[in-house]
Assembly symmetry: C2
Homo-oligomer: 279 residues x 2
């Protein structure tokens, strides 16, 4: 029952290059969840160079929601540190194009939107630690139900930099006690995918009044014998970006991440140590 969680994911053990090839060909489906386990997937933010310094500093000052794993030179649509073959204009399943804070297009190919002043930021994503949890036989309900993870704005403020400010946004996964402990252990080992949770058990302490009404994603029931576990979330930079209304930006569409060649450090040892362990 638990083993099937990875077995029914056709690209769980695919290489990142294979996943990117599927994305480029429009054959990946819209969401990269459950693909290329062991590698960092990334939220993508592309901004005009005039805003890049401030956004870079914002990421460095808010490493839990915005773990920076890559940054391009202006106008460069390669990011070879994250994949030798990588083309940032085609290798995500779906992009969103923004003008003055409004989404103006959703597309699988941004070659015709490209600008020579765009700087691309790649920020680690929870899909990477979800894959690690799946590999370690820690099941997650939203994945089993085929839903989006519930995501909430909190009362925790990001450290603001220039035009970029806003609340830390978190994702929530419910676990019974033993899996909550294992989820802390495993996610702590992957700081580039948001690391350890920031709250367990008391949503009201971080300003979440109604756990059944997420601000993004789908609701997920928390059973009486479960603890809600909250992680800083890559929706944070998207919400910050929407609020700051830059004249132009391109991001990934929700769930349509960049699958990078960057391995999760120590991934094989992590899975070997934690797979099937009771605690």
């Amino acid at each position: 029952m638990v083993d099937s969680d990875s077995a029914r994911l056709p690209y769980f053990n695919a290489s990142p290059a294979e996943v990117r090839r599927l994305c480029r060909a429009g054959e990946s489906g819209p969401v990269t969840a459950g693909m290329a386990a062991g590698y960092i997937q990334a939220n993508i933010v592309m901004l005009p160079a005039s805003l890049a310094d401030a956004f870079h500093e914002f990421c460095l000052r808010n490493p839990k929601p915005c773990p920076l794993v890559g940054m391009s030179r202006p106008g460069d649509y390669r990011l070879s540190s994250l994949g030798a073959d990588l083309d940032l204009r085609t290798d995500l399943p779906l992009y969103r194009v923004w003008r003055d804070g409004n989404m103006v297009a959703e597309t699988g190919d941004i070659r015709d939107q490209w600008r020579d002043d765009l700087v691309t930021f790649a920020l680690g994503c929870s899909f990477s630690f979800e894959n690690a949890l799946t590999a370690c036989d820690v099941p997650m309900r939203h994945l089993q139900l085929g839903r989006g993870v519930p995501v909430y704005r909190t009362n925790i403020a990001c450290t603001p930099v220039g035009p970029f400010a806003g609340p830390v946004v978190v994702s929530m996964r419910p676990f019974r006690s033993h899996d909550a402990i294992r989820a802390v252990q495993i996610s702590s080992l992957i700081p580039l995918a948001h690391g350890a949770p920031i709250q367990i058990g008391f949503p009201e302490e971080i300003g979440i009044a109604d756990i059944d009404s997420p601000d993004y994603g789908d609701p997920t029931e928390v059973a009486d014998d479960e603890l809600p576990v909250f992680w800083a979330c890559g929706v944070t930079p998207q919400a910050v970006l929407a609020a700051s209304k830059p004249e132009f930006a391109i991001t990934h569409a929700p769930g349509a991440m960049l699958v990078t060649d960057m391995p999760i450090e120590g991934y094989e040892d992590l899975v070997a140590s934690h797979r099937g362990r009771i605690i």
Copy 2:
């Protein structure tokens, strides 16, 4: 306020040899809590050699409550792997002598009780991870109140071996969410001091009906904004021993541990990484 937790412990940074010298001289006080941070403290069980193989196997099969850190040859009251100068007959603050399951003496020196067939087992103790939590500025209420930690029998059975059987016994420390997360992270790094907790938040799942009525130690309030966190406890082998009624045994008295020269692996990195960190 948090920093003072270690500052007001006079032997927190003492060497294990210095603590043992105090114990030997009868000058340590009855409890080794808060002493020699960074080193493994140990529960002690001394049994006739005829029972040693079964008890050894019991420890190996129950490593969470009984993490084996040392074992002597029959009749040998040295355990040089745990301290070059170590004399197992004098270097604990207080011992208990048992006949047929009944305590017949409590004494600071067992030289006149020594037998040439005694095998000594040293099993890691929660005082070591408590010291690590204190060093990382994770406060514990029972220590702040100067009380014993609350300890409970659970409905989890140890894997039985020969005459040795019984429930896993656990200790409980209440934490607010962020310290609960840090306590999981830190204690996971010290498997020889019981490692990660075995339960968070749901005492009834492990057979604890009334958290205010511990089976050993002192009650500790769990506030409404706190999670009770439970670790396997070194009282487990003592309870198992009492139930199996060996014809002769010597143990440490509660809280009067053997302070060993065995360092906690990676302790300095652990404290450097976790001290003062929010998560």
